[in-house]
Every structure is written in structure tokens, then in C-alpha cells.
Subunit: 145 residues, 2 copies
């Protein structure tokens, strides 16, 4: 297991937590200098708040941990490609790197142009975990519909 | 003063509150059935949180007031054109209508395609207050730079 897979496994733990709470199972962690400084999973139902996505919760936790509003030198790991809201939030935070596992061809940020991300943000896909992270979401929707 | 101007004046009060706190002076209110159910102003500095925009704070307050995660039949009044993060958040909330006063040709949501807003969201510009709401922001940046 490489470093990206290790942190994506942490994000996946968060996603499973969401599943156990009947939330859309997406999870995220933010890492600075090899340490998780923020984590979150989708809580839109519990909080009655459509902005309570995994990434937003992790981002607010991470900026709070660092005591500043920027996440330069930080990497976000998220089980599913961020939506436009989260991508634009990560842009405001100047995050250095984003790693996601499952693409979201219907609602992902990469559908939009110009890019919603900061020009300096590097993006990687953790392909070894794409299937597992994507299946968690598709199984969830099969179970509720 | 028509109804839109009356509520935009409430958003402008919020923006002035932000100015007095040395925050970028943008304010927002969300109205349901003629009543303000959520209000907010930019608090990114005070909260050390790049997502603490006026619209996000007003949105979370409004969904909390209504006890549901949707803002159908609600109108957001905001002094400046929303950024992509806020537009996408308002999309998730299914807001019915957005009224803004000052366009933001550099960072506004309308620069992006496809549209970041929900297809059913109606957008109006409150032109009688464009100058006043825009000037508050440009004066702020002149004073800090």
C-alpha cells in the first residue's frame, strides 16, 4: 500500500461511517506533512444542510487545525470526485493537491470550464481504489431506490 | 422602494457589518414568504475559513430555520454576484430565485459553463443598488491595499 492508498483508506473509513448513518457514502481527509489534520463524511441529511459535504467538513476542520484560511502544502483525499461547490471551496483554500478515487461523470467539477480549481492545484486519481469507492456509492443508491 | 430593494437593503446592512469587522463587505439574506429566514455576512477572516461567505452562512441559517435541506420557494438577496462555490451550494439547495446587486466580472459564477445554478433558479439584478453595493467592496480594497 503506497502513501496515497493509505490516506485514501482513511477517507474510505469516513465514507463507511456515512453509509452507517444512511448518508451518501463519501469521505475525505486532509493531510499536512504526513498527518491527517481534518476529516469528514457527508452529513447533509443529519445536519439538514446541503453544503455539509465530506470535503467542506474536512476543509473547515483543517483550516481550524492550522489556524489559517489557506491549505497550501496540504493534500485532500476524497473517495469521489468533488462537486463544483467543493472544488471552488478548495480553490479558495489554495489546496496544493487533490486525490480522488471514483470519477463522477454526472456531477463532478471537471465538467465545468474554465477550471474551478486553483491553477496550482495538482490532481491525481487513485485508480487502485476507484472500484471500491465507487461501488460504495452505487450500492447505497441501489439500496434506497 | 420596491420589495427587491427592501430586501437588498437588508443584505447591504449585513455587508456593512462585515466592513466594520474588516471583512470583505458582502452580505446576504434569504427570504421565504416575505420573511427573512437566514442572514449572513462574509466571515472568512474571523472564522479562518475560506468557505465562510455571506451566502453560505445565510444558506445554513435558512435550512436550519426551515428544518429541511431545500430552499424551494426562497429567494437569496446578495450584494455581489455569488462565486462558483456559493452558486453550486445554492444549486444543491434548489433555491428558487437569486437577486444580486453588483456583478463580479472576475470571480462571479456566471463566468462558468455549463451553468452552476439549478436550471429552475431565476436570477435578477437589482440595478438600482449596483453602484452602492459595488462601491462598498471597491472602497474596502482601496483601504487595505
Amino acid at each position: 500500500m503506497n502513501i496515497d492508498e493509505r490516506f485514501m483508506a482513511e477517507a474510505l473509513k469516513e465514507a463507511r461511517e456515512a453509509a452507517s448513518e444512511k448518508e451518501i457514502p463519501i469521505g475525505a481527509v486532509i493531510v499536512s506533512r504526513g498527518r491527517v489534520i481534518g476529516r469528514g463524511h457527508n452529513m447533509t441529511e443529519r445536519l439538514n444542510d446541503p453544503t455539509a459535504h465530506a470535503e467542506m467538513i474536512a476543509l473547515t476542520a483543517a483550516t481550524s487545525a492550522l489556524g489559517g484560511k489557506y491549505l497550501e502544502d496540504c493534500c485532500l483525499y476524497v473517495t469521489v470526485e468533488p462537486c463544483p461547490m467543493c472544488a471552488a471551496a478548495l480553490n479558495w483554500a489554495h489546496i496544493s493537491r487533490i486525490v480522488y478515487a471514483a470519477p463522477d461523470p454526472k456531477r463532478g467539477y471537471s465538467l465545468f470550464s474554465p477550471s474551478l480549481l486553483h491553477p496550482k492545484t495538482e490532481v491525481s486519481i487513485c485508480e487502485s481504489m476507484t472500484e471500491e469507492c465507487g461501488r460504495l456509492v452505487s450500492d447505497f443508491f441501489k439500496s434506497v431506490r
